[in-house]
């Protein structure tokens, strides 16, 4: 039981951590390109900002799916039920 709980905790941390890592790098690149675009053509800044927020939300999606699954495992761990069914 302790092993299951311990490994679940590590899994939750990895899910959230790697998601955050990927999104961090992605957002950094995105923001950099956006600023470059604004510097080249300042009159396009509002339009570029709208499109940037669109891509931000798309990037968030995969990270959030990971966070959702991780929080599910943190609070409603199905492995505990399986363990109880097998051993108890």
């Amino acid at each position: 039981m302790e092993i299951v709980l311990g490994y679940t905790a590590i899994a939750v941390a990895l899910l959230i951590g790697f998601g955050a890592l990927g999104v961090g790098i992605g957002m950094g690149l995105l923001g950099g390109r956006f600023l470059e675009g604004c510097a080249r053509q300042p009159e396009l800044a509002p339009m570029l900002q709208t499109k940037m927020f669109l891509v931000v939300a798309l990037l968030d999606a995969v990270a959030m799916i990971g966070v959702g699954i991780a929080l599910f495992f943190a609070f409603a761990n199905p492995f505990i039920g399986q363990l109880a069914a097998v051993t108890g």
Partner: protein, 285 residues
């Protein structure tokens, strides 16, 4: 707070606030999980009554508000409410005009419904965590989650409806064989253009089919899980901040201000992606 309201510890507080009010049939009788938390757990036909009530209620609020404003339009000098509604409608109209490259009377009302309904559902997350559930508890309703978009069922319901529309329009515009053969089997490796001998066509086509089906299924899945994940994480963070004690207020305020951005953005994204997917379904070469 962790010690008030009869919660044994913080874990129980969190679990209590993440539990939906469920109704299901047990031995032919309709029961709710008010007295027995896990009675509907794992039941395929269980209904999340609180999500259904709040989503329908917010839908009625949206429809009646927009209908009332549309009925009493003052052309010369619009009131503030009418100006706000006009802003929203013009925004949706602009987005549809920019993105949708087809002809359909359904898209703009659909986009308006999606953005307004999802926005209203998400805004419920900004109401302090304990207020409405406390009211519910005083009325005897033990569990209540007020944000419908934190319920996977609600978000999947919306995204599967959009998926049904995508399939309907794909079949209508391109024809059933046109869609399945022309789109799914000929992309991304088009055997005709690559000069593949006729014998190898089934191989290339089945490879294309697998890739295209995965891409097609990813659309409703990502649409619903994106909204669900964002809202669930936001709500969970509010619950976690509520456990801290007297230092809640600045943290709550900070997170709520950030969450306003997330709330609006997620509603906008759901609408934009719906328009983009339906525009792709309408594409006719």
């Amino acid at each position: 707070m962790a010690s008030e309201g009869g919660y044994a510890n913080s874990g129980e507080y969190i679990q209590h606030h993440l539990q939906n009010l469920q109704g299901c049939q047990v031995d032919g009788q309709w029961v709710t999980n008010i007295h027995e938390t896990k009675i509907c757990a794992g039941n395929f036909w269980a209904l999340n009554l609180d999500s259904m009530f709040w989503s329908v209620f917010l839908g009625i609020v949206f429809c009646s508000l927009f209908y009332r404003v549309a009925k009493n339009i003052e052309a010369g000098k619009p009131g503030k409410l009418q100006a706000m509604i006009e802003l929203v409608v013009e925004f949706v109209d602009g987005s549809v005009k920019d993105t949708f490259h087809g002809k359909s009377p359904v898209i703009a009302p659909l986009a308006l419904t999606i953005v307004a309904w999802v926005f209203l559902m998400n805004i419920m997350d900004l109401i302090p965590v304990d207020w409405i559930p406390k009211l519910g508890q005083m009325l005897g309703i033990e569990y209540m989650k007020v944000v419908p978009s934190t319920d996977v069922n609600v978000t999947f319901g919306m995204s599967l409806s959009v998926f049904a529309l995508i399939l309907f329009y794909s079949f209508k515009i391109k024809g059933v064989t046109g869609f399945i053969v022309g789109e799914l089997m000929m992309n991304p490796l088009n055997p005709k253009e690559l000069g593949v001998p006729k014998l190898l066509w089934p191989l290339v086509c089945s490879f294309n089919l697998v890739l295209e089906i995965v891409a097609l299924l990813a659309k409703p899945l990502s649409l619903s899980l994106r909204l669900f994940g964002n809202m669930y994480a936001g709500e969970l963070l509010f619950i976690l901040i509520a456990l801290i004690g007297y230092w809640q207020l600045p943290l709550h305020f900070g997170w709520a201000v950030f969450h306003i951005l997330v709330v609006t953005l997620q509603a906008y994204i759901f609408m934009m992606l719906t328009i983009v997917y339906l525009s792709q379904a309408h594409e006719h070469h």
